[in-house]
């Protein structure tokens, strides 16, 4: 089933004005190209593709050395456009993101645009590595950058219409780290868990194939700019208006939302947890709208013009899990409780 031509996007051959069908082909080509460097992670690549076309920021979480940075670098490379990255450290200050201070050849102090401003307003990808090592002040600035795609520096407002923020954090270390505030987490469209590939052949290839040993060369071998990052906003809007969400699906999503906010009433029961006090908050309207946005893109990528419960389910955990805030006594068991909660919500809410 193919989608209809959306407003502003016509079946042309020019790369700047393509139909949604052609854009879907581009999206699949994008996935295939990223998949050349990122093996054994098709689910992660699909979610990142969904996030790109849903115009949402992404936080990757996983163990050390599973390829989070490689994935994001590969995505940035294949996406094309100006790319900037910064390492989160405990002494990083917000100004370090905006300004670079140094002494020039004449011995005079100089202040130049920092990582965020370096490429001007055309910045396409901003990659924040080890985000939980940065201080809350930095998180605040990042929050504004993500929410409004703008910052104030050098006495003026900088706007980044094409900006996509990727961040990662490892979940091993807890010392000298700062947990992201709820508001900052809520700004991420998705929080994607990255696990080491489980297939034996893929693991063998990753370890023994020299191609994967030199990451710079691996990333450098990927085609650049498979999709035009400046058109993603238009395509994303076209997808949202072209893919149909029926009243039944609306009811279904609202049912999921209700079950997530009041799991006890929905019949959810998690072993060892007091369902009355399990949740502190979360599942915000922004989160649910992000869920529908991501579900529409998923349906579009699957070649459908209607959203199915399967599309919602495919993106539910990445989109909603990090927006669920547990009572502090349950937070330490979050890794077990939240997946169980999401699973049971889907088992309780009827579809259609």
């Amino acid at each position: 089933m193919s989608v209809s031509t959306a407003a502003g996007l016509r079946p042309e051959t020019a790369s700047t004005d393509l139909s949604l069908d052609a854009w879907r082909d581009r999206a699949h080509a994008f996935e295939a190209e990223v998949g050349r460097a990122v093996v054994g992670q098709p689910g992660v690549v699909r979610l990142l593709t969904v996030a790109l076309f849903a115009r949402g920021h992404v936080l990757l979480e996983g163990d050390v050395g599973v390829g989070k940075t490689t994935i994001l670098r590969a995505v940035a490379r294949v996406l094309g456009g100006p790319f900037e990255r910064i390492e989160g450290t405990v002494d990083l200050m917000p100004t370090d993101m905006l300004y670079t201070a140094f002494v020039d050849d004449d011995g005079k102090p100089r202040v130049e645009p920092g990582p965020v401003l370096h490429h001007g307003e055309d910045l396409a990808v901003f990659f924040f590595n080890e985000i939980n090592r940065a201080r809350p002040q930095v998180h605040s600035l990042l929050l504004r950058l993500m929410a409004e795609r703008s910052v104030t520096a050098f006495g003026k407002e900088w706007s980044f219409p094409h900006l996509q923020v990727f961040a990662d954090r490892n979940r091993v270390e807890k010392e000298e780290t700062f947990e992201l505030p709820a508001a900052a987490r809520d700004r991420f469209l998705m929080e994607i868990a990255v696990e080491a590939p489980s297939e034996t052949e893929v693991r063998r290839d990753l370890v023994f194939n020299p191609r994967f040993h030199d990451v710079d060369r691996l990333i450098g071998g990927l085609a650049e700019g498979v999709v035009d990052h400046r058109r993603l906003g238009d395509v994303g809007r076209a997808i949202q208006s072209a893919v149909h969400a029926s009243p039944t699906l609306e009811t279904y999503v609202l049912g999921l939302w209700d079950a997530l906010r009041a799991p006890k009433a929905a019949g959810v029961d998690i072993a060892g947890a007091d369902m009355d006090r399990l949740l502190q908050g979360g599942a915000s309207p922004r989160g649910v709208s992000a869920l529908v946005r991501a579900a529409r893109v998923t349906a579009w990528l699957a070649g459908r013009d209607m959203v199915l419960p399967e599309d919602v389910r495919a993106v539910f955990s990445p989109v909603m899990a990090h927006r669920i805030f547990l009572d502090p006594i349950y937070e330490i068991r979050r890794d077990r409780i939240v997946p169980d909660l999401c699973r049971q919500v889907f088992e309780r809410v009827p579809a259609p």
């Binding site: 149909h244 009243p247 199915l308 399967e310 088992e347 009827p350 579809a351």
Partner: protein, 300 residues
């Protein structure tokens, strides 16, 4: 078998002269003349042979009734037959019953009766039917050793055969029938097992049969009902993408895989497609699918 006893020999020949030969002989025969007890019936036969032209005067025969205070004549019959020399032989059968309660063994006598023979002008009388017998008491007066063993004992209680075993078998059979009926109801998902979790398609098939023919609204309701049956059958919500996993988990439904996929396609179009879309599955096909699934469910 009668034992012949000569009770009275030659009868009386009282007047001598011409009348001596009219009655040739009178003989009485009876049973054994001893061991007669109270209430015994005595059958005697007197044979009287007379010369011609004399005939027995039957009016002289005794009438049935009490003979003595302890002897009763029940009946008397006479048969007549020829005798040698133109004579006539009369056999007089008498039947007595004795009510003599003997206190000790003693002799008793059946008294003779007088009959007359006549040729119209002459008449002769003879005595006949006398018989002597020994009668005994029913029991000795004095008690004897071991007497108590001979006393009448209480009647033997009738043996009533026990029906307990039969009743138990009947009860067991009824219980077995009830159990088998319950098993059948369980197997067919009849009431009260119609809502049991392991037979969701059985219950759904009945409702879908009613709903499917009621226009578009009924068809949507039937689709929803089958969705809920799938949910129960799988233990969680079944979405279209899960059909493969469902069929692997429940291989009994595998042969209906194509129909199940068609159903989910139709359901997607009806519920998630553009407004106004209708279910592309015919009511008959939907009902048939529900019945097939119910049948596969029973077989599993």
């Amino acid at each position: 078998m009668r034992r012949l006893l000569l009770a009275a020999a030659i009868a009386l020949f009282a007047p001598a002269g011409a009348g001596l030969a009219q009655v040739r002989s009178v003989e009485t025969y009876g049973p054994r003349p001893f061991g007669v007890l109270l209430g015994d019936v005595l059958k005697l036969q007197s044979v009287v042979v007379v010369d011609a032209p004399f005939k027995l005067d039957r009016s002289t025969l005794p009438q049935p009734g009490a003979v003595t205070y302890s002897l009763e004549l029940h009946k008397i019959d006479v048969t007549e037959e020829p005798a040698p020399d133109n004579g006539t032989r009369y056999r007089i059968e008498t039947e007595y019953q004795t009510f003599f309660s003997a206190l000790e063994t003693g002799e008793q006598t059946v008294p003779a009766y007088t009959i007359a023979v006549s040729d119209g002008t002459r008449r002769e009388e003879v005595q006949a039917g006398k018989w002597t017998y020994v009668t005994s008491p029913l029991r000795p007066i004095q008690g004897q050793a071991g007497e108590s063993n001979l006393r009448l004992r209480p009647d033997v209680r009738p043996a009533i055969p026990s029906t307990r075993a039969a009743r138990i078998q009947l009860g067991a059979a009824l219980a077995l029938v009830a159990l088998l009926f319950c098993a059948l109801a369980w197997q067919r998902s009849w009431w009260p097992f119609h809502r049991r979790a392991s037979r969701p398609f059985g219950a759904a098939a009945r409702e879908i049969g009613r709903l499917a023919g009621r226009g578009e609204e009924g068809r949507r309701a039937a689709l929803l009902r089958l969705h809920r049956a799938f949910d129960v059958a799988w233990g969680k919500r079944l979405l279209g993408d899960d059909i493969g996993a469902f069929l692997r988990d429940r291989p009994a439904f595998a042969r209906h895989g194509e129909a199940i996929r068609s159903f989910f396609e139709a359901s997607r179009a009806a519920f998630f497609g553009p407004a106004g879309a209708t279910a592309s599955i015919a009511p008959d096909a939907l009902t048939r699918l529900a019945r097939d699934l119910a049948s596969a469910e029973r077989a599993s």
